[in-house]
Symmetry: C2
Subunit: 151 residues, 2 copies
């Protein structure tokens, strides 16, 4: 296997296969500015190989629960012309880690409240902190709102 093979750009079929993301979803991501592609003379897409990592980042971010809009914003912070370095990706990962931490904390808080409510079976509006995000949960885990409330 010639090493030059390693640098050949990917067709959409290859990217789809290797990323596990459908071609139609890749089209969609492109329309929404999350990925981009060169074109052949015949107008077919050719992806730089680091697009694979980009798509991986998109998938992972979605698993965390982030909307594509946020993911696009994060990706926009990548260097424009050059292929992103490990350091670039690390920075993004670190950013997501914070989101994750907040989200986990919020869910744990919710669980604690739920534990309290299981005893009383309350879930009633005034007495149960679960009902009012702006109450205790809002104060100690503002991150929660990021994930469930509209902007």
């Amino acid at each position: 296997m010639p090493p030059v093979e390693t640098h050949r750009p990917l067709t959409i079929g290859e990217l789809s296969e290797r990323s596990g993301v459908s071609a139609s979803a890749l089209h969609f991501y492109e329309r929404n500015g999350l990925i981009e592609a060169e074109r052949t003379a015949g107008n077919q897409r050719r992806y730089r190989r680091d697009t694979l990592r980009r798509v991986a980042f998109i998938k992972t971010s979605q698993r965390v629960g982030l909307p594509l809009k946020d993911i696009r914003e994060a990706l926009e912070s990548l260097p424009d012309g050059r292929t992103p370095t490990k350091r670039d990706w690390s920075r993004l990962s670190l950013r997501w880690r914070k989101e994750l931490d907040e989200r986990i904390a919020a869910l744990q808080h919710l669980r604690n409240d739920l534990d309290g409510c299981i005893g009383c079976g309350c879930l009633s509006l005034k007495s149960c902190t679960l009902q009012n995000p702006s109450d205790e949960l809002g104060a100690s885990g503002a991150g929660a709102q990021r994930w469930t409330l509209p902007e």
Copy 2:
């Protein structure tokens, strides 16, 4: 304040105000079998007061990230004719607690993986467990899929 006031059914405006859920959303919940209402002679909705708790349960469940379909299924396990008791609500809360636990565990797993990746900046398909839900995360935290994958 006469105690009989406590038993008067709620108008949609009252339920909306007290639950923080818009009237149009209440209509929507009704269309989708999540809540129900009696009607006055003039066809206006009148809600039993425990509907307040039902709506609270819906809101809380949504904050956990559950789709309405799942919430409806849970609510269907409530007794049909009578007003649910604390015990009934406790049972549902307990069920949600399990979901929450799984979800927290899955996110923690994801975070651990992410920590590994921050060091290497990888996020590449083969080497990074983050990419393949059916790998480690799938094995130890199947619950994660419940929240992010289509059925």
